[in-house]
Amino acid sequence: MRFVFYGKRLLSFAASIFILSVLVFCIARLAPGDPLASYYGARVERMSGQEREMAMERLGLNEPLAVQYGKWLERAVQGDFGISYKYKQDVLEVIGARVGNTLLLGGLGFVCLFWLSLLLGIFCAYCAHGLLDRIICTLGTAVSVIPEFWLSLLLIYIFSVTLRLLPGSGAYTLGGGGGFSDRLWHLILPLCAVILGHLWYYAYLVRNRLIEEMRADYVLLARAKGLKRRSVLFGHCLKNVLPTYLGIMAISVPHVLGGTYIVETVFSYPGIGTLAYESARYKDYNLLMVLALLSGIIVIFSSRLGQAIGERFDPRIRSRDRQEPDRG
């Protein structure tokens, strides 16, 4: 029974990725411009008509889209995603050299975001409608609407250009070898930008859920029995809010990832975001396609993971899913 359960999950995960790849492939192939250019670059212009024909034939670009997709998939499964037009290198190699940087920034940002917004949300709920809460609410709303790129610009302007405290670009000092502390030093500002851009959205969510939860009848009972406000908040309410929070954080991965991409670009941090930006600028479809696919896989995986975690912690979600079929 358990095996069937996990098998089903795996199958639906695989199906999602398959459809995503079809979608991405179609968009890339429908792009205007010469598809040959993404393989041969500027050399296309010097090709004779016959050479072009042969190249089209060899790459299978004359065949219907479905056949093309099949061939692409066949190669892709073997790890061959084609060659990046800009870098003249295997796409996977180009990405492989940079994916670590993004995972470091995005992963660290996500973990910090998760804990900080939880703590801030609990704090605001604890002193709800007090002076401190109102100040944080006003400030938080103002910060949360600032687009990430402008936030990054502000941080660079203040801490890097004016105060000259922190480095404003790159992942390590050029020619410095790139030790651990050096990398961390370069990570501070981008990390702040990633966290600040999203912090209040999730903290506010936690705050509101907790305040709502504090109105429930069981809180009244617990208070009547003499429990302190704090112990009810942490002992009872938080437990009921956490599964929802986990689920929301799992869905938030695309937002955080997208934010990371922008921040990377502004800080010219050598990660996937900068790469996506470059590949869009230079119309490097092979690369862009794989990047979209990769981001999609990370997101789908994390959303499924979040679902599973939520179900594990909160039996209510499971029973809700089971009841859903009899709608309408």
């Binding site: 199906a15 999602s16 459809i19 995503l20 979608l23 991405v24 968009i27 890339a28 429908l30 792009a31 205007p32 411009g33 709800a128 409608h129 007090g130 109102r134 709303t141 103002a142 609407v145 600032i146 687009p147 990430e148 790129f149 402008w150 610009l153 502000l154 660079i156 302007y157 250009v161 009848d217 009244l220 208070r223 009547a224 695309p254 937002h255 990832l257 997208g258 991409y261 922008i262 670009t265 502004v266 996506a276 930006y277 869009a280 600028r281 119309k283 479809y285 862009l288 990047l291 979209a292 981001s295 999609g296 997101v299 789908i300 959303s303 079929p325 709608r327 309408g328």
Partner: protein, 298 residues
């Protein structure tokens, strides 16, 4: 003292001073966002009839006066290409707001139609469409926009608006689907179907008025997101080119200007952008407050 515990605290009587104060503040939090509305109205009015008080031609590149600090002849200073920022703000804001509105119209239309389709569809189709939405959502929206933008090729106001609109409909579709599933068994929908009302007739005249309340917040937020997305794209150089003035494309000069000390190129368009986004957010939050409060009272 125990009495008020049993009446689950609906009224204010029996609460101590601190609790009373917190109740009052709670109500105060739902007051109308006057400041935000007035500010937004001012910005919009300034953008719409900017010609009346623009001091310069916003597109004229006065290279002799590039990167002049604010004050005197140039109220907000000039940018790297010698254009007058004060005139550009109003002229460019028009484009930014226009893109926000067009793409929101588009995303709302797609979201409502697709969501209603899902709500009416048999279960398998509904499931398939929802999975499709999930997959569509899985690519970070900005990457999707960049991708579509690269595919669209030409970069002008319309393509940007369409591309942003085409990626922003998922949230609305989800809400509409749930609402339609709730409404489709109601008598008025069945009656309309019996009288031969088609899908779009029912959607327009029977469902849409009922849906409006639940999607209003998302529609307002979509305007905000679209403006933010446009400015981000244009800033990166993937959206509007430098010649088409918008708040985003004005900011695309910011990164290099920062190192020459021209802070006004970074700050002034950004402040206008953030102020607009903040006002829209405040108004959206108020709309949601009012609508959910009504729901709670039913």
């Amino acid at each position: 003292m125990y009495l008020y515990l049993s009446c689950s605290g609906e009224g204010d009587e029996g609460l101590n001073g601190k609790q009373k104060k917190s109740r009052r503040l709670e109500r105060k939090a739902e007051k109308k966002p006057w400041a935000a509305s007035v500010l937004l109205a001012l910005i919009v009015a300034g953008c719409v009839c900017g010609e009346l008080f623009m001091t310069k031609d916003p597109t004229f590149m006065d290279l002799a006066n590039s990167e002049r600090a604010p004050g005197g002849e140039f109220l907000f200073g000039t940018d790297t290409l010698g254009r007058d920022l004060f005139s550009m703000i109003w002229y460019g804001g028009r484009i930014s707001l226009l893109i926000g509105c067009i793409s929101t119209l588009l995303s709302t239309a797609i979201g409502v139609v697709l969501g209603a389709l899902c709500g009416f569809a048999p279960k398998w189709l509904d499931l398939a469409l929802m999975r499709f939405v999930e997959i569509f959502l899985s690519v970070p929206s900005l990457l999707m926009i960049v991708f579509l933008q690269a595919v669209a090729g030409e970069q002008n106001v319309l393509t940007i608006a369409v591309v942003i609109g085409a990626t922003g409909w998922c949230g609305i579709a989800k809400v509409v689907r749930t609402e339609v599933q709730r409404l489709r068994r109601s008598e008025f929908v069945i009656a309309s179907r019996c009288m031969g009302g088609g899908f779009f007739h029912i959607l327009r005249w029977h469902l849409f008025p009922n849906l409006l309340a639940s999607i209003l917040f998302m529609v307002i937020m979509n305007i905000r997101n679209a403006i933010a997305a446009e400015s981000t794209l244009s800033f990166l150089g993937l959206g509007l080119p430098l010649e088409i003035i918008s708040w985003g494309s004005m900011l695309s000069l910011a990164q290099s200007a920062m190192f020459t000390g021209a802070w006004w190129i970074v700050f002034i368009p950004g402040v206008f952008l953030v102020a607009t986004l903040l006002c829209i957010t405040k108004i959206g939050a108020y709309a949601q407050d009012v609508l959910t409060r009504k729901e709670r009272n039913v």
